[in-house]
Amino acid sequence: MSKDAPIWILDEVTTKPGQGPAFLAAYMERYVPKAEARGMTLAHRMVEPAMWLDDAPNRLVFVWTLPHPGAVWGSKHMARPDADVTRWWKEEAPAFIESRRRSTLADADMLAEYDNV
């Protein structure tokens, strides 16, 4: 494998009860377009359980890909000065969610190569 193997960014979000559909709509409308413009590709958007809950939280998992580690920096450097990004996570998203976590992952077969820089 080359160092161009993809990097995955995971957004794991637990919504407030009944807020799953509204959060998904807001995420797709207010967050996704600019993230895609920063070079990120939304590969999966998954919901647990496999139904919207009116009176309990849903867990949503968004799987993003970037083509290589350098693209991670490229995306970050575009996002950092963009006030909309901070506004989304600090002001808009909290209305819908109880908790969230973002993670950066790589293919297990790539770790030795990434360590050898």
Partner: protein, 219 residues
């Protein structure tokens, strides 16, 4: 040891002759400082971010020795220039006792320093975790020859700087290559700097600056 670090940015109207005169005056004054244990006064290299035109780093036995030196006659000509807004328009300044450190270098290569302001929910637990992960970077980034992670005792500038993260490398490639591209940076420690991560701790305004060196700086 007690360290004084200044990131100095020339006023826009300073021409080449004025810059040369500044460098000569401050360099001479720094070398004559009473009690100084180590002096680094070097122009920054292209590629710095909020990194100024000159880096001045002075090391003393303790804060009392630093205070005496800064008030000395030997330093007066430098103070006059550094505090003159027509000469130096912006100063990022920190004073700090030496923090956690490691590695060794012969001092020929590159000195890099970053100033951070950890001001987003800076609980003791989060600050400790950030420091632990940052201090762990040299275990993975093999181009870091010598390093020190310190908490600023005094600070002024664009932010009330809290953290001083210094490294010495063989050359600029060691900074732009392994330091930037190892996953301990972009996939691990970077979470503290990124508003998109719940770990976000550090103000987006920071100092990232570096210069060539001829002898060890982190002593």
């Amino acid at each position: 040891m007690y360290n004084l670090l200044s990131v100095l940015t020339f006023a826009p109207e300073m021409d080449a002759a004025g810059r040369d005169a500044f460098a000569a005056t401050v360099g001479k004054a720094a070398a004559a400082l009473p009690g100084v244990r180590n002096v680094m006064f070097e122009p920054t290299l292209p590629g710095v971010y909020n990194g100024g035109d000159y880096l001045l780093r002075l090391v003393f036995d303790d804060k009392a020795a630093a205070d005496v030196a800064m008030a000395s006659e030997a330093w007066a000509p430098a103070t006059a220039l550094i505090e003159d807004k027509a000469t130096i328009s912006t100063i990022q300044r920190v004073a700090y006792p030496g923090g956690r450190s490691g590695g060794s270098s012969d001092g020929s290569g590159l000195y890099r320093v970053a100033l951070f302001c950890a001001n987003v929910n800076p609980t003791p637990e989060r600050l400790a975790a950030f420091a632990e992960q940052t201090a762990g970077m040299p275990n993975h980034v093999r181009s870091i020859l010598r390093w020190q992670l310190s908490t600023a005792g005094e600070a002024e500038g664009d932010r009330p700087w809290t953290t001083v993260w210094e490294q010495e490398y063989r050359d600029l490639d060691g900074l732009n290559g392994p330091y930037m591209m190892h996953p301990v940076h972009w996939a691990h420690v970077e979470r503290w700097f990124d508003t998109e991560y719940t770990e976000h701790l550090v103000d987006p305004i920071l100092v990232h600056t570096f210069c060539a060196i001829q002898r060890p700086v982190i002593v």
